[in-house]
Each structure stands twice: as structure tokens, then as C-alpha cells.
Subunit: 164 residues, 3 copies
Amino acid sequence: MMSEIEQRLQELGVTLPTRWHLPSGTLTGSILVRVQGDRVFVGGHVPLDQDGRVCGPFGKVGAQVSLEQAQEAARRAMLGMLASLKAELGNLDRIGSWLRLGGLVNTAPTFNEYPRVLNAASKLLVDVFGEQRGSHARLAIGIAGLPWDVPVEIEAEVTLATSV
Amino acid sequence: MMSEIEQRLQELGVTLPTRWHLPSGTLTGSILVRVQGDRVFVGGHVPLDQDGRVCGPFGKVGAQVSLEQAQEAARRAMLGMLASLKAELGNLDRIGSWLRLGGLVNTAPTFNEYPRVLNAASKLLVDVFGEQRGSHARLAIGIAGLPWDVPVEIEAEVTLATSV
Amino acid sequence: MMSEIEQRLQELGVTLPTRWHLPSGTLTGSILVRVQGDRVFVGGHVPLDQDGRVCGPFGKVGAQVSLEQAQEAARRAMLGMLASLKAELGNLDRIGSWLRLGGLVNTAPTFNEYPRVLNAASKLLVDVFGEQRGSHARLAIGIAGLPWDVPVEIEAEVTLATSV
């Protein structure tokens, strides 16, 4: 039987990328998903292509990267995050609630529409998990620099469902 | 009977603003307060006027905005956060403990007194909730940009009291 | 009997600094370590010398501060964090799991190797606590400014062991 969330992704025409391909030595000691009891911490995720590799466009939002491109980058970062969660949890139906999303925008000095950038990631969550499970508290801020000069990075905390 | 915390606010001469008036479409998918069991995540809050609207002064702390103005902005952001919590929880007495406060200062290159800015928000918490409930771990950092070009933004995690 | 973690630190030739010497008034309302049930929030920690005082080199990583110096700063910030945890918990063996590490690099415009900077702190955790307890989700980003113009700051969330 197909998982409920996977079916929902299919209905939305969304395909998860391959799990993030991390070049050896990128992360030492830290891991992409940390599970402890029913608590799940997801480390920083950046935009990935379908093969799970960090992808462009690169640069500052408001300069080299447009608002629309940044929204697509936020969406891709979220799909990569879902791929990491699926790899770690086995089944995305195990996610009970999204709690917090931290959203970081690699910003040009003149840009400040960070909520509009992150809305692309947040909307995907609500579209896929529904409002009750997918709604979350959020931070959306402008940052001086992100690894690989990606335009957007996100981190999250979720809880596991009591039973699935 | 008046809530204990409301009474304390009154003693301090503090009036909470109207709940944040968010123009439609500002946040999609994300919500200001996320409650899950006894855990409460509060998303990014910015300075509000008494009518619950984002207010100035706007700009970088250390340039367009002075230290004193930034402290007042931090205090206003915290009052807006309390207004959101009251709207969501019904009664601020339900807050058991403040755990973490994230404080972000929209910074000019020459400014770095971020703890002094955030002290205005942290002190308010301890004045209102007392040291045992109000003390919290904190991050106070300089940020390249904040939405609407506000000088300060805060996010938080709190827990609900076991019973009130 | 020496604590297991203290013994491990000794084996690694690591000496914790004196607990952070905070000049009066630096933090108002916020505290370095917030314990609530089995949850422990650790506020922002910066590089300390062995006497527990904020130490240099100061400035932006990629300009005044080199990658190698930033890695040493990240390591020192982590040792200061362990000193705060030891002071608060009495015994570092009480730490059950590291959950999340937030890593902030005071960045020059041309620098973006934030994961390499933070790896120095993350590796120390895994060396000391082992992979199962020490691995953590992480954020490693570039920041416009940090207090005292330090090059690196970290914050964390950990859980207490069920019983020690």
C-alpha cells in the first residue's frame, strides 16, 4: 500500500529528489536528521537537483537571483528535506506535526521580502501534509552568506506521529 | 478573576498591543504560534504599534536606528509576541517556562552590541514572569536583513504549565 | 570516581576552560543554560580563553580571521559550552544526546565555507561523546555580525540521559 503522503505528492505532481549526495568530509559529526524519541531535528538543507546534488542558481537574492528563482530554490530545499526525512524515517506518514521552520535567505542589501521567499516552502508543507499537520512557526531572515553561495537554506523541527 | 500575568503587566504599566495585523498573504502555511502537546513554538515577531501594525523606526541598528531605539523595538516585538500568545492560549498564565529566545538585529557593519539590544526583551520577560519562569537561553546576533527593514526580530520556544 | 566524559576529555588531552566570566549586565534575563525536565537549551557561546574570558582573534572570517583560526575559535566556543554545561549539570555524563547545533560565522563577503568551520566543533562532540550520543542536526551559516566581533558563535539543544 502506498503511503498517504507519497500519494499526496504524486497527486501534486511532485517527485522527491534522490537523497542529498554529500561529498565526503562536508559534514563531520553532524547528520542531516537527528531523531530522539518522538522528536526530529532536521539540519540545514539547500536546493538540490533531482540527483541530490547542490544546484544553482547561486548568489544573492535581489542581485544575481530573482524573487521567483529564490522561491523555486526554497521549494527545492524543502523537497530535499522531505527526501532526507523519507530516507531516515522510512515513511513520511510517520511525521505527526511540523513545528518550526527556520528560513535563511542569502540577501542582497536592497532585498527584504524574506517571507515571500519562504512561503514557497511553507505552502508545499501545507499542500502535502494538510493544514493541521503542516502548519508551523517560522523564522524568515536575511543572511550574509550561505554554504556554496546558495540563495536559500532551511532547517526544521518535527514530531513523529504517536502511531501510524 | 484577572490572570496573574495580566495583573503583573498592569502593575508594570504595560499594555499589550492588538494582535499582529498580518496583511493577507504575508504568511502562507506558517502560523504565529504552533502548539503541540505542552510545547509552544513562536515564529518571528517584529515591532508593532498598539494597533498591531508593523512599526518603525526602520533601518540598520548603528546607522538609521540608535541603540536606544533598537531596545525599544525589541521590547515592542516582545509585547507583540505576548499578544500572539494570549490570543492563541487564551490566558498567559498557561505559560510554564520560557526556554529559548532567538534575537536578530538588523545590523550596520560597525555595530555589535546585540546582547544590549536583546536585554530589553529578556528583562521584560523576567519582570513579568519572574526569574524562575522567565529566564531563558538566548541567541543575539547581527543579521544582514529583516522583513520590512525592521531593526529587530525575535522568535521563541516556551512550554505550557502542567496545570493552571 | 571520575566521570566517563571527563575521562574521555583527559584522554584527548583537552582541558575545559573556567566557566564563562560574564561582565555584569552583559546578559539580563537570559541565562547560559536553561534546563526544563530532560530538555536543555544552551544559549549562544563564543570563543573563550582558559580563564573563561572572551578571546580573539576578532573580526570577519575570510578577512581578518583565517579558516584555520575560525576552526580553532569554533572548538574553543564548544569547550566553553561544555564548561557551562558542567557548571549547570554538575556532571557531563548527564547529557544523553546532542540534538541540534546552531553555528554562526562572522563572515567576510567572499567566504562561504561555514560547514568546514563548524566541523571543528561537531567533531569534538563526536570524539568526546561518541557517534550515538554526539551526532546532531546542524545549521552553519554566515552572519553579518557577532557580539564582541568574535568570528564564531554556537548555540545548542541537548537532552538529559534518562538515568546516570
